[in-house]
């Protein structure tokens, strides 16, 4: 057979594996898969290193699961956990899109735009794959409805390892530079959700040392995110991200600083354009989620801004200016 003389490309082996496992009702054992499916069979027949072929199969299973292919393992009755007798299959009902799931051309256009929000990293890879799957529906886009999507960057180095750790249910540790603090602290957490709010990525996690839920800014994770090798102590609830986003939003609504700006200055224009800002008798009520970060932002305007209240923000802003003066004295 041609199979024995040509090298089968990876995607062809994976494709053949999916076809074989979709077609079987009772499932195939590992030996059956390795001895018959294109991409394994030729190497199996040649004898050789059986262990490396089995490792190949294990990695292929991982790849399929990463792609969302529902690969099931069925134990032989009376021989639970015996991997030699275990059978593998992909139940078509869990593999295929529900029959009644339809998208209109406008919905498809909006999803195409939604995918464009991500230009880098795993979010971009994932949304590109989702679009490929959507193309299987054969929908056409009316060219003039597609516009330009606003993009969100995932430049924080912590994003990818945290996203992977959530996916795999792993506990992680990292050094965290809390806003307003001069030095970083080691944290041990079970990551639960990634949430983008006010231009910043947040990690919602269970802090396993404090034994309480905490929210971290990815920008302030200043070390490599390391997996501890332990499983996460907590797993995300179904509405975890929505819940965290709503909490951040409520915090942002209720956290307000009042400032006076020099009329016509850069501070005046930018703070007035800031979402949520209101003008109260010429003074600006500015919203924020974290007062220490707001203090950083306000201090940046220098003499064009004066904090009226709260006193803590006024002091924090003055302290930043004083330390600049001291550092350059």
């Amino acid at each position: 057979m041609a199979d024995s003389v040509r090298k089968v490309p990876v995607e062809e082996r994976l494709f053949s594996l999916v076809l074989a496992l979709l077609a079987t009702e009772q499932g195939l054992t590992k030996a059956e898969i390795l001895s018959t499916v294109t991409g394994y069979a030729a190497r199996y027949e040649q004898g050789g290193d059986r262990a490396s072929l089995e490792r190949q199969f294990e990695r292929d299973k991982e790849d399929l699961r990463d792609l969302g292919v529902p690969l099931e393992t069925v134990d032989e009755r009376g021989a639970e956990g015996d991997t030699k007798l275990q059978r593998y299959r992909i139940p078509p009902s869990r593999y295929q899109l529900p029959d009644d799931l339809e998208f209109s051309a406008e919905e498809y256009a909006l999803l195409t735009l939604a995918a464009q929000v991500w230009r880098e990293g795993s979010l971009s890879t994932d949304s590109r794959r989702a679009l490929t799957k959507l193309q299987s529906l054969g929908l056409r886009i009316d060219d003039d409805v597609i516009g330009f999507a606003p993009t969100i960057r995932t430049r924080d180095a912590a994003y990818e390892p945290l996203s992977a750790a959530i996916d795999r249910g792993q506990q992680v540790s990292f050094d965290y530079l809390k806003p307003g603090q001069p030095s970083a602290e080691r944290r041990l957490v079970s990551p639960l959700a990634l949430v983008y709010h006010e231009g910043r990525w947040h990690l919602h996690a269970h802090d396993d040392r404090a034994d309480a839920a905490r929210t971290f800014l990815l920008r302030r994770i200043v070390s490599v995110v390391e997996s501890t090798g332990s499983p996460a102590t907590h797993r995300p609830g179904a509405d975890e991200p929505v819940h965290v986003l709503a909490e951040l939003e409520a915090l942002w609504q209720s956290t307000i600083a009042t400032v006076a700006t020099r009329p016509g200055s850069e501070a005046d224009v930018v703070l007035r354009n800031r979402p949520g800002t209101t003008d109260v008798d010429g003074r600006l009520a500015v919203h924020a989620t974290d007062l220490d970060i707001l203090a950083d932002e306000l201090a940046a305007f220098g003499a064009d801004v004066r904090v009226i209240e709260p006193a803590a923000v006024r002091d924090a802003v003055r302290a930043r200016w004083q330390s600049v003066v001291q550092a350059h004295g």
Binding site: P98, A130, I166, G180, P275
Partner: protein, 322 residues
Amino acid sequence: MAERPTPPRATDKLTFLLSLVPYLIDQVRVTVTDAAEHFGISPEQMRKAVTLIAMSGTPGADGTYTHETLFDIDWDDFEQRDLIRFRAAPMDDKPRFSAREAAALLAGLQRVAALPDFAARVDVTALMAKLARGASSAPAPLAVRAGSVDAVHRQLGAAIAEGRRVRIDYVTTRGDRELREVDPIRLDGVDEAWYLRGWCLTREAERTFLLDRIASVELLGAADAHTSDADADELFRSSGADQRVTIALPVVGLPLIADYRGPDDAVRIEGDRALVTLAISHPGILGRIAARLAGGVEVLEPADARTAVAAWARAALDADSA
């Protein structure tokens, strides 16, 4: 966790094959060119993929691949007329989204849902429910705050749609207030910021304006047509950043100044301090950087930049105490 051995390319190709099969079956008969266009690939790539599919199938009951268990393509149509037609297929299912794929689209949707063009035409909540239903397991925990659109944004959007010239009241990073006449080309959103790309009649050049810095917009008469070949990345290339300044900051603070750093800016690590040389457009930027790290930044050289940043902070303290 072991390193992922298969390069992402192979899994991307698999996703493509699994999506291509049900499309081809649904189409019944389609030209190579049309199918290639639909998936955004070359006709040659499409012929290769179809050939691979046509040689694939399932191992039959006796564990061998036979004509009965293979995809059955009309080879004459394919090889002589460049037409794809399958007479039989062992599989025609459309694949579900993975948890991560669904989450990426859902989060993207949360972002674009507020765009004026779509809000009225698509029921986003229903669409999000459909996406979740189309995933093979619960979408990964990811959420994004809805983008917001203010008055300036709406006016500029209208100006672009109607082909109108605008006069904007703009404040520069130096704090100068300027009236500019602009023929808008497009709006680009990056993170929380929106940028207006347009032909500036005042400067007779293509320019980018940060919407944050636009105090007001006035719509004028018809604009001349302009196209821009600038890409989104160009928005971040600082123009006129010609003064080179060296600053010192704690190493852990480096990520916090990422926005101010260019790709070629040198970094030297000395113990727990990092020395970075940046290109800046004016000394006001230094105060901004110094303040961002809760005052933990020191400007090292040149000397006049040190003096300027200290004077900047002193003026701020004086104004605050006045």
